[in-house]
């Protein structure tokens, strides 16, 4: 029996408006680490494109890593602060400012009621993340606050931000806000967004359907990111069309984020966060999870190159990254509890 009761989970916690949208920017959405467990219903994961920069932003403001924040694309929004809080901006360098003064990135910054956060010229990378202490508290839909723009649900009414939107968060005690500010990411941990052209992949389940020449061309030549690239996928153009051994049609099966599928025209499509759950095109390779952020930060017109690694290497990369994030989270928590015991200089 299909229950039609609305289970849009209103957070039982009391929320308050923390940011007001003056201008929304090109494409700013509420995202978290994604919606998992619904692919069997045809519902894809969505969530942030650069999960590394996003988690760092949350850690810096003292949040759990999966709290929802803003994903900002190329042209950032203008936001008015509605209550004193702490924010951190990570990811692409989109020239953020606070009341027209440059706003440091990869740092948790105290912002006061009435101040304005703006973005300017894109310097490098594509997607910036803005985390706010307490997270963006929109209702969860199917276990996630991520916006699925195509199917129009999640986030803020299932759409990108618009002028006059109010973003809700948790009310913060003054003391808590004060303790969360001034955490800066050690320089060596700051990823350089948008510069990395080399992306590591695993062989796809249908690699064997491609001609040996096509597989070899896939790994030896670069691919240009087409302007028709978005959160669903990146269309790639190579020097040669990728060809199949014969014309056998593939049976539709499940796809993964980072899957590189090749339709009949021989031009690969790299599937990203807002992807579908299934596909009927052969998959030549799959970007490893630890390198998806590199793809997320590459611009149309730029190239990417693929390098094959083993599954063990892919998992080792994930493990190292996880360790790094955990250590940082621990350090930030210790600093926030007893700042006098761990002077910021020593941590850095």
């Amino acid at each position: 029996m299909m229950e039609r009761n609305v289970v849009e989970k209103k957070t039982d916690k009391q929320t308050v408006g923390v940011l007001e949208v003056i201008e929304p920017g090109l494409h700013t959405t509420v995202q978290d680490l994604g919606r998992h467990g619904y692919q069997k219903y045809g519902i894809g994961p969505s969530g942030v494109m650069d999960d590394y920069a996003f988690q760092l932003a949350n850690i810096l403001v003292g949040n759990e890593r999966e709290e929802a924040g803003l994903e900002i694309t190329m042209i950032g929004p203008s936001l008015r602060v509605l209550q004193d809080t702490v924010i951190a901006i990570t990811g692409a360098s989109l020239s953020p400012s606070l009341d027209r003064q440059p706003l440091p990135m990869w740092t948790s910054v105290y912002v006061k009621k009435g101040q304005e956060i703006r973005f300017g010229k894109p310097q490098s990378g594509v997607r910036a993340y803005l985390a706010v202490a307490g997270g963006i508290q929109v209702p969860e839909v199917m276990g996630s606050k991520s916006t699925n723009v195509k199917s129009r649900f999640g986030g803020l009414d299932g759409r990108a931000l618009a002028a006059k939107d109010i973003l809700p968060s948790m009310p913060m005690a003054k003391e808590s806000v004060r303790l969360r500010k001034g955490k800066r990411l050690p320089r060596k941990m700051v990823p350089v967004c948008g510069q990395e052209a080399s992306v590591r992949v695993l062989a796809g389940p249908q690699e064997g359907l491609f001609t040996a020449e096509s597989v070899s061309a896939f790994y030896s030549t670069g691919f240009q990111i087409s302007p028709q690239s978005d959160r669903m996928g990146y269309r790639l153009t190579g020097e040669k069309k990728l060809e199949l051994r014969d014309n056998t049609e593939m049976i539709t099966d499940a796809v993964a984020t980072g899957a590189i599928q090749v339709p009949g025209n021989g031009e690969p499509i790299l599937l990203m966060a807002d992807r579908q759950t299934s596909g009927g095109y052969p998959k030549i390779a799959n970007v490893i999870s630890a390198d998806l952020w590199k793809v997320a930060q590459r611009l149309p017109g730029q190239t990417i190159r693929f390098e094959k690694v083993t599954l063990a290497e892919a998992h080792e990369e994930l493990r190292e990254r996880e360790q790094c994030l955990r250590q940082l989270q621990l350090a930030v928590r210790l600093l926030s509890r007893a700042p006098s015991l761990f002077p910021y200089e020593k941590f850095n």
């Binding site: 069997k40 219903y41 099966d253 993964a256 980072g258 799959n286 490893i288």
Partner: protein, 241 residues
């Protein structure tokens, strides 16, 4: 003993293929395996995605390793193929209003196959369809089992937007659009029953493995169902067999 092939799908997925064909028999294995896995999922599994002839298991590599999980899955598969338990199937009968503005291509489908409109509707409503899998858009069922005598090519120019619930034919496939979208299928009717509601407890109506049947309704019946759906008073009966 079931044959199957196991391979990685990226670094967080395991793809298990039972055969490289579309058949109800193979698809049944898919759903039997999914049922077993859902009842007794090893730790570290995030989700299980059935398709025509494959099951994809998404896992957290930092909780369970690939080799370890593959060994567990193979063990479960061997047990399953030894017992091959029969499983319950759900059958859903969807009310459809055929033709008119709800089915602008019904006449084309009839003309293309040299049949009357009534004959197309009768052939479309006289078969049980298997929902092999859900994909493409939220809640969209890949249905199999259509009568080949009402097959028709896709539209040469797709419609920009059709509403959710539109029932169409493309080649020898029939389907129901679960959300409003551009459509290249020939649209022959409309069901008022929502297939996808992100805010409902069960967000999708049709699940992989379900049996679907279409039932022709008259305009007054159709309108009655439409308003019941609007008032959230409509409950579709589901048979279990």
């Amino acid at each position: 003993m079931w044959n199957f092939q196991v391979s990685p799908l990226g670094d967080q997925g395991i793809r298990i293929e039972f055969a490289n064909i579309i058949s109800p028999k193979v698809n049944k294995k898919v759903h039997q395996f999914v049922d077993v896995l859902e009842q007794k999922a090893p730790q570290g599994i995030v989700e299980i995605v059935p398709a025509y002839s494959t099951v994809t298991v998404c896992y957290q590599p930092l909780v369970i390793g690939y080799e370890q999980l593959v060994a567990l899955l193979e063990e479960q598969l061997q047990q399953l193929s030894a017992t091959a338990a029969s499983q319950q199937t759900r059958k859903l009968t969807l009310p459809v209003f055929y033709g008119g503005e709800s089915g602008p291509d019904l006449d084309f489908v009839a003309g293309y196959n040299g049949l009357s409109r009534e004959e197309v509707v009768s052939r479309h409503t006289s078969r049980d369809y298997l929902a092999y899998m859900i994909g493409f858009t939220p809640g969209f069922p890949y249905l199999g089992g259509m009568d080949e005598t009402i097959a028709v090519p896709r539209r040469s120019s797709p419609r920009k937007q059709i509403r959710a619930g539109s029932v169409g034919i493309a080649g020898s496939q029939t389907g129901i659009y679960s959300v409003a979208s551009p459509a290249g299928w020939q649209i022959i009717g409309h069901t008022p029953v929502p297939l996808f509601d992100p805010y409902a407890e069960n967000p999708v109506l049709i699940q992989a493995g379900d049996t679907i049947r279409f039932h022709e309704v008259s305009r007054p019946e159709y309108e009655e169902i439409c308003s019941a759906v609007m008032e959230k008073q409509y409950i579709l009966g589901i048979d279990y067999f």
